[in-house]
């Protein structure tokens, strides 16, 4: 169940040659968007502000293992055929550091609080280019958490409203991907909550892009006369469909979700948690790379005069000992209880709190765990222990 359903149904697909991607950049830039997309840097595919289409990671693929990430050369020039990197779109929509407000104390001791508002600090207008289906689902999860409750997050909300989302169906899942089993990918549904839906088809004929509008903004962009769009080759829709179907068959991992919530609720005292804790470093990497982990803490600062204070927010992790601190001590002192908190929240109690799973099957937590802990393996062990 996705919280944001588009009001515009998928439009007729159009075809864009990969060599014409710069025109898409230009059309976005002309409308005031800053393009954020994948690029190769320091041996990884990272997300960054891009100005040119040739900054995309053409021909770069990824090879994954628990605790391992390596780039590889692809045989084609596909720009979006790489599995999830160390960052996610969370870095741009829910930044790791953000100022919430400033306070100033006057000579009489009065205090004025000044929030960062759209007027004083406008949200950046990002065009998110190359959002894979797992990550599109992650954005929907964040939408639910940060804008779907009684209060709307003052940082995420405006950034999310401004974002122009260009989703790309996944054709080359990694060794640790499991979106097919959790129902978030690798294909893009007709009603996928994005502005543009892209299928990238790389074969001996080169690389072609099939683009459909999923929103009014997307349709407006595609009407830009400077975009050299054409009628798609008749075989293109079928090719695109086959590519994602093939991708679904090539997932490196699987997570059985049926009844998982109950399995986790019923195994809180399992020795599996002790065993995981003996390996887990409680470093929090999994929470930093997870595209749905949203936890934050606050930092209050003053300047040298002591009369100007600011409140900043930064990402936090439930693996941090202080995370559960209540006067006198922390609730979750053991590594066992902190790993249990993470896994049971992500796969179980997230349903209770926000009406869906918190896991989108991107596999990042397995890749970036220094000791290669694999949540699909741990969930399966708990299921086995819970019995039929």
């Amino acid at each position: 169940m996705e919280p944001q359903s588009p009001t515009v149904t998928a439009g007729q697909p159009r075809e864009l040659a990969q060599d014409d991607l710069q025109a898409l950049f230009d059309a976005l830039t002309a409308r005031g968007w800053t393009v954020v997309g994948p690029t190769e840097r320091d041996g990884a595919v990272v997300l960054a502000e891009l100005t040119r289409a040739d900054q995309l990671p053409h021909g770069v693929g990824v090879r994954l293992a628990p605790g391992g990430y390596r780039l590889r050369q692809r045989e084609d020039r596909a720009a979006f055929a790489h599995s999830a990197g160390p960052q996610s779109w969370k870095n741009f929509l829910h930044p790791e550091r953000a100022r919430l407000w400033q306070a100033d104390r006057d000579e009489e001791g009065g205090v004025t609080f000044t929030p960062d508002t759209e007027e004083t600090a406008p949200a950046p207008r990002y065009a998110l280019l190359g959002v894979h289906p797992c990550d599109l689902a992650a954005i929907s999860r964040l939408d639910r958490v940060l804008t779907g409750g009684a209060f709307r997050d003052p940082v995420y909300g405006p950034r999310r409203d401004a974002a122009f989302v260009i989703a790309v169906a996944c054709t080359d899942p990694g060794e640790l991907c499991f979106c097919a089993s959790v129902g978030t990918g690798p294909g893009l549904r007709e009603d996928a909550p994005c502005d543009l839906a892209v299928h990238e088809i790389a074969d001996r004929d080169g690389v072609r892009l099939m683009i459909s509008a999923h929103s009014g903004r997307g349709a407006e962009l595609l009407s830009d006369p400077r975009l050299p769009l054409r009628e798609p080759h008749p075989e293109l829709p079928e090719l695109a469909r086959r590519r994602t179907e093939d991708a679904a068959q090539r997932m490196g991992r699987e997570l059985e979700t049926e009844g998982l919530r109950d399995v986790l609720a019923g195994t809180l005292d399992s020795s599996v948690w002790d065993e995981v804790a003996s390996r887990c470093l409680t470093c929090g990497n999994c929470t930093m790379v997870c595209p749905t982990c949203f936890c934050t803490t606050t930092e209050d600062t003053t300047d040298l005069t002591g009369e100007h204070a600011e409140r900043w927010r930064r990402w936090d992790s439930c693996f941090d000992l202080d995370f559960s601190y209540v006067h006198g001590g922390s609730v979750r002192t053991s590594g066992r209880s902190r790993y249990r908190q993470w896994l049971t929240h992500k796969l179980g109690t997230w349903h209770d709190q926000f009406g869906s799973s918190g896991c989108v099957g991107c596999g990042r937590c397995i890749v970036w765990c220094p000791v290669g802990i694999d949540l699909t393996v741990e969930a399966a062990r708990l299921r086995e222990e819970a019995g039929p």
């Binding site: 005292d269 934050t296 803490t297 209540v326 979750r332 053991s334």
Partner: protein, 295 residues
């Protein structure tokens, strides 16, 4: 799970504090004070008993604190024990100084029932009219219960018997002494301490021990419990032994909170977010959550 509280007018910006002036400061114990706060200009929406604020000490930080008093003129009372750097800074505040306040957050002791003034089918505490009330406070846990007792005493016809049981480690750690003296004249109030000192003539032992002597109709009673978690567990079990059903036992839970708006994730307790779904839960909702070590 109860529905989230909405804050009319403040929903757009619940995270930026409003400046409140310390109008009065009462030293309760060696390390605990009650601050009475009044808005400097704009007032927050009216609090209900059981809801909490985020209190900001300039430049130091912010902590959640339940409201210990609600006055008709928008004044709020908060009772704070100095146990960390923020609470220490708040406890040092003097009359005339400014504190930042966000809120009201969370549900209330009426579990978000939110009765209207003229609804005679349910009381302002979310109980059936005429029901007996048992209030159990352990240590500083008495503070969030103070508005409950005050509300009950202000409308005696709406409620049956009122029993207030208070526990403290020692006589010198008792808070809200003036209220306790006043309440004694109006209801059954029993104060017990773990460690008596010279001059203490009252009972010694667990607050739950006093439950044996209290007179109430278990099937027509709602209990309000706040204190350390072991004390709340023991209280709930003692109340159930007396025949009070688990859905009529209410307790206020405490967890680390950074936002109070369900964005920061700190107050997770199994399936609930304490700031959003609580802090007040029934024992039926909370029993399994409090039974798991380090949940």
């Amino acid at each position: 799970m109860t529905s989230a509280a909405t804050v009319p007018g403040r929903a757009a910006d619940p995270a930026t504090p409003l400046p409140y002036l310390v109008r009065h400061r009462l030293r309760e114990t060696d390390d605990t004070v009650t601050l009475e706060l009044v808005p400097l200009d704009e007032a927050l929406p009216r609090f209900r008993p059981g809801q909490f604020s985020m209190l900001y000490a300039f430049g130091v930080g912010e902590i959640p604190v339940s409201v210990s008093g609600i006055a008709p003129d928008d004044a709020l009372a908060h009772t704070i024990r100095a146990v960390g750097k923020v609470s220490e800074a708040l406890c040092r505040l003097r009359p005339g100084e400014v504190v930042g306040v966000c809120g009201p957050f969370g549900n209330d002791w009426a579990l978000g029932v939110g009765p209207s003034e003229d609804d005679d089918r349910v009381t302002a505490l979310g109980t059936d009219p005429g029901e007996d009330l048992v209030v159990l406070g352990g240590g500083l846990g008495l503070s969030p219960l103070r508005p409950v007792v005050r509300l009950a005493l202000s409308r005696p016809g709406a409620y049956g018997r009122l029993t207030v049981l208070v526990g403290a480690r020692s006589p010198r750690e008792l808070v809200h002494r003036a209220d306790l003296t006043q309440w004694c004249a109006l209801g059954d109030v029993r104060v017990t301490v773990d460690h008596p000192e010279a001059g203490w003539s009252g009972p010694v032992g667990q607050v739950t021990d006093q439950l044996r002597h209290a007179v109430f109709r278990p099937e027509r009673t709602t209990a309000f419990v706040c204190g350390p978690e072991p004390m709340m567990r023991a209280s709930a079990e003692a109340l159930m032994r007396r025949g009070v059903p688990p859905e009529r036992i209410r307790l206020s839970l405490e967890r680390n909170m950074r936002c109070a708006t369900a964005w920061c994730g700190h107050c997770q307790l199994g399936r609930v977010l304490v700031c959003r779904d609580g802090p007040v839960f029934t024992w039926r909702q909370a029993a399994d959550l409090l039974a798991v070590h380090e949940l």
